[in-house]
Symmetry: C2
Subunit: 563 residues, 2 copies
């Protein structure tokens, strides 16, 4: 079935739920944007998604990327789609206008990203990595480097890659061994081997700008001795033309469970020419500044695939005749069966709350990067720091669950390739692993974002929510939510008290705590949506009745571990 | 890594936990078997699994089955492995000695099946379908048919298939349309098309005996007008030699998410010669008699793959150095991290309780089929009826979860094909769908096994458990379990009260109820194991602390729906 971009639902979030225009009222950079523009962009993104990306999604999975002697060929139609992607300006939405970007809010971009992930996750990743790379250069490169590389990366004419992981250094980048030798001309010669490099090599862009972590000869051991380098695939002459092929080559590509049209490369560097970005030994610090954006993007992969799985499962359930409904005799569409309705509503309830959190978090990132009000920026940074690991991990855990549920609605037809449901599950699975496994996200949440600051971020969240809830009408759900928020406060405090001196304990409860916080936030967002639209009330009530009870299990599990 | 058959753990269940020898003391058919024999068989099954089946598991996935003009070729090595399987007598373990079978208990066979599913699920399915077919013939065929077909099926020289599903008739077999025309000689001509036929065609056995559901011309509409037919691939002459090719052909095979070395066939019948099995219009009734066996077998697929995923994840976690443990400075094996330990213990806790339930349920099936004590048989049949849908659905839901968790332990390496973890997830996924989706299992549990008999089976379960618990030492866990059992009783009664007149409500809570009951049963089995071995206490406590709390969420979700 053809993807139906949920533009109305997205605009409902931007306008009615988050009132983005008034939220951004004081931000000069966004002063020329309005809701009509956002709606027009979403409409166009929807057309691009269903018209260009979706038609090559299943064929891309079947064909996959091919490697031959260092050359990676993307599946049929990808080159043309990439050209259309560049021409449509989709690579440059949130980039700085100074270098040709459109400077649009992240709160809008998350919705465009969702559509692209819905219709072609593999394709979407190339652009997502390029955006990550150019945002990093925007933040840390010097002016000369920016002028030389940014315009072509922002347009999409050149793509980007992030070369972090090595075979023995994944979650723990401090272990990495790639070496950078300083040269007389101020450049470096980089040698080493990287694995799992998304978009490290492909045939869609003229050049690829790699951002590579490596160690200088005198670097201290561990995470504080890592520097960041720009390593172009083709050298770039001063006049902007392409020069020689640099010594960074794709040694092979991985054969994976899914995202088969996204190249996952081994990148071998043999005295490749590189240029330092940011200060010496500042590599991980530089990386961290773009990590929120990348983690949110990968989170949205979960929502996007979940939405696509929902749309297909809903259509199938309305079409497939099987069994009698409890109120009739003739074979009924399976959507008449309560168990199927329960599955479909669960999918929707997670997808829609996830989308709301993505917009909410996106708006904090916008304020953090664009507001002139220092206090607002500080608050937004704190909220983004807290919400990012939650969004990345919970969106993707639920994305996998939602895709699996959608597949289940299809019965045996969900297991064969033809209907496309099993591909969503395979494509969704990676999002729980890369960009920091969900276990790592949970440790980040409990360690850095909760215990390390004595719950300051959680307190801020609770304040923000309490303030907003003053606008909610009194109701049973509101009381339920208020209780959950008190519980969250108490549980968080208990973890801080015990976890402060017991890092091992933090590990044991981290994943459960992340899911717990996420569900409470989803409950808040459901009530917020519920208060703005009668249409959302059935789903909102379903979430409170059937899904929010998961918090009971998580809380008990954590408390038993703390006891 | 090489699979390590958990023979000690299996013998611990047979001997210490269930005391199988005394349980079967009054059963004449088992009088010549003893624990030494069981241990010897498990040892041999373990060697066969790691030596013959595991080496062709990953290559079988890569190569898959191939179809060409009606011929299905299995992957390299499968033919030879099948020959060894037949020669080893593995096909005939539980078959009737009257026709060459070994007549061993199901309580033993579930453990052998687990090993085979662990090491090569695709391969194991061929034999599992054959066993299903011969058990059905043992129960319903006339003596002449038994004599003609059973010995070769039981030896494995011929294989079997179950031809039920049609494109428009899956969960609802009442909708099926295949036709059977009576012939003057007492045979039938069968025409129609079947889909999703596991092992419907392949190149490993001399002949394939298909059991086909079809309608006679005068058959009433719906499920009561379906008859069962034996349709051989090659006609069998009276002297036992093979005759002409029959008109049942494989039209194509499915391209699937996993179990790629298991052929999933479209079977087209064009006036194929068939023979009635059981009475006219008795097809579904005949099928039901073997359904418990098949459903349990598919459930065990979940446990088997979960065990394999656990063994690999455990080995990897002990080997992979990444991050510092909370108590040290140098890179530590990731098993030192609490989050990884939590994952591994969850996997084990589900696998081991599942294995215990498989043995327990297997022993009820043995008593039902072999005991001379009528009251015991009745009780065993009731327990098997209750436990089968729970085992099938919960084993496979947890199997998928456990395999996914195992994959997560590998980080990015879990997502690439090389390590084999992603194959387990893909192979495990089908078990939640076929042999009746897990939603159908849950409806069976709530509809037929709970509401329809006013909770008689649940009461029986509670009695059996209460009686056994008299032997358990008092402890905090025992009190917890007693509370859970009281809650189970109350919750079940509430469902009966409301669900009696509200079938739609049954649908809405069925899956949650199934998981709830399963977790309470696992809690009982953990305490039972806990009481028999100090080694099990850490895992048992972990189950009670961290996993049993899931019942809180399920109970609240159900109660909210009932409210």
């Amino acid at each position: 079935m053809q993807y139906q971009a949920p533009v109305n639902d997205m605009m409902f979030l931007l306008k009615d739920v988050f009132n983005i225009q008034s939220k951004f009222a004081g931000i000069e950079d966004f002063s020329e944007f309005d809701e009509d523009l956002y709606a027009a962009i979403l409409e166009e993104a929807g057309k691009f998604s269903s018209g260009v990306l979706q038609p090559i999604n299943q064929s891309g999975d079947e064909e996959g990327c091919r490697w031959n002697d260092g050359i990676v060929t993307t599946p049929k139609g990808f080159k043309e789609a990439y050209q259309a992607f560049v021409e449509g300006g989709w690579q440059s939405l949130t980039a700085s206008p100074e270098f040709g970007g459109q400077g649009l809010p992240k709160a809008l971009h998350v919705l465009v990203e969702e559509m692209f992930y819905s219709t072609n996750t593999s394709f979407c990743l190339y652009g997502s990595l390029t955006a990550g790379a150019y945002h990093l250069l925007q933040a840390h490169a010097d002016e000369q480097m920016k002028a030389k590389y940014l315009p072509n990366m922002i347009s999409g004419q050149w793509s980007g890659s992030m070369c972090l992981t090595e075979a023995h250094a994944g979650s723990d980048l401090g272990l990495l061994k790639s070496k950078a030798e300083p040269q007389a001309d101020g450049s470096y010669k980089i040698s080493g081997s990287k694995i799992f490099i998304t978009g490290g090599e492909h045939d869609m862009a003229e050049n690829i700008i790699h951002l590579v972590l490596a160690r200088l000869p005198d670097a201290p051991a561990g995470p504080k001795g890592i520097s960041l380098f720009l390593v172009p695939k083709f050298m770039v002459n001063d006049d902007g033309t392409l020069g020689e092929r640099n010594g960074i080559k794709c040694g092979s590509i991985e054969h994976k469970m899914g995202i088969k049209a996204s190249s996952t490369c081994v990148m071998n560097m043999d005295e490749a020419v590189g240029y330092l970005v940011g200060g010496v030994h500042q590599g991980l610090r530089c990386m961290f500044t773009m990590m929120n954006l990348e983690r949110l993007s990968i989170g949205i992969q979960g929502i996007g695939l979940g939405e696509m799985a929902y749309q297909q499962a809903d259509a199938y359930a309305n079409d497939r005749l099987q069994g009698r409904a409890t109120d009739g005799q003739a074979p009924a569409p399976i959507i008449k069966h309560g168990d199927v309705q329960r599955m479909l509503m669960s999918m929707q309830a997670y997808n829609q709350a996830g989308r709301a959190l993505a917009v909410w978090l996106g708006s904090y990132l916008d304020i953090a990067h664009h507001s002139a009000d220092h206090a607002e920026v500080q608050k937004a940074n704190a909220m983004a720091a807290l919400l990012t690991p939650i969004a990345k991990a919970f969106f993707t855990d639920m994305g996998y669950e939602v895709c699996t549920t959608g597949q289940q609605c299809f019965g045996g037809h969900g297991y064969v390739k033809e209907w496309g449901m099993e591909q969503h599950v395979r494509d969704a699975r990676i999002a729980q692993i890369y960009e920091g496994t969900n276990g790592i996200q949970a440790l980040d949440l409990v360690g850095r974002k909760l215990v390390a600051n004595d719950g300051a971020y959680i307190d801020l969240l609770l304040e923000e929510v309490a303030q907003d809830m003053q606008n909610f009408a009194d109701s049973e759900l509101k009381s339920t939510l208020q209780n959950k928020l008190s519980e969250l406060k108490e549980l968080s405090q208990a973890i801080i008290n015990k976890g402060k001196t017991d890092h091992d304990l933090q590990q044991w409860i981290a994943c459960d705590y992340l899911h717990y916080v996420a569900l409470v936030i989803y409950a808040y967002l459901w009530l917020k949506m519920f208060n703005k639209s009668y249409e959302k009330q059935t789903l909102g009530e379903f979430f409170y009745k059937r899904l929010l009870p998961r918090t009971l299990a998580l809380k008990a599990s954590i408390e038993n571990q703390l006891a």
